[in-house]
Symmetry: C2
């Protein structure tokens, strides 16, 4: 698993549509990378990510990137549902085959319920391109150390 | 590929949530199984499935099941976005690992854009538990023979 002091890995993720890619290590030098198991799941949609959107809209935090092993159409629709004007500044990026999250070694096997390997619920604080802090929920259906209140 | 005269395969899909499963061969004896590559994609959300919802709401058609290789959270959210009261009668079922669509031999490799193998855009008319008619779009981004106007 990625650890404090590591450089955030280079790798493409999709933002907005499958053909629009960004390299996370280039766009996220200082900010937060928040991993979730499943767009539109109750925990992710009701408890976890809306608070990041609300806090980001306040304008006080560094950039926040939300990542999941979902495709870009799904992440874009989820973004629209949680942030209809897309004016919070929170980015919703898709890692459809889990390749980026695999580089972080933060996948778990959710094949039974969700069909494939998904991202743990995690929060990484990035400073100068390096992992400054890492929290991973032991139970991905719960939000404790990765909450917006604790992380931002 | 499944063909006219074949019995619709037995197999579980999820409807509404990952822990709610139905066997398609049991619930769909007479009606339509409509396959799409990606929930929330422009072609599926704007051109294709809304017309099934509209026609089904008219009450004249046999049951319609929409299936995709997406998880149940995504299919449920997509259902809510296209049919907010969920009163059309159209079912949105999830085949998250593609196991059911694989039995139909109607998967294609969408790994590059969507991360995995997805369902072709197809329409199967089912009569007495057997495939009565099958249409598969040669180009999954287009809607021609699988449109609600042509199928229902």
């Amino acid at each position: 698993m990625v650890k404090v002091g590591d450089t955030l890995p280079s790798g493409s993720v999709q933002e907005g549509a499958p053909d629009r890619t960004v390299d996370l290590s280039q766009v996220l030098k200082d900010g937060y990378l928040i991993g979730v198991p499943a767009a539109f799941s109750p925990t992710c949609s009701q408890g976890h990510i809306p608070k990041y959107v609300t806090k980001a809209r306040g304008g006080s935090s560094a950039p926040v990137y939300v990542i999941a092993v979902n495709d870009a159409f799904v992440m874009n629709a989820w973004h629209e549902s949680l942030d209809p004007q897309k004016d919070s500044g929170v980015h919703f990026v898709a890692d459809p085959a889990g390749e980026y999250v695999k580089k972080l070694d933060l996948l778990f096997d959710a094949t039974g319920l969700l069909g494939n390997h998904r991202a743990h619920r995690f929060a990484i604080a990035v400073k100068d391109g390096k992992v400054q802090k890492l929290d991973v929920e032991p139970d991905p259906t719960q939000v404790t150390t990765t909450s917006a209140e604790r992380v931002l």
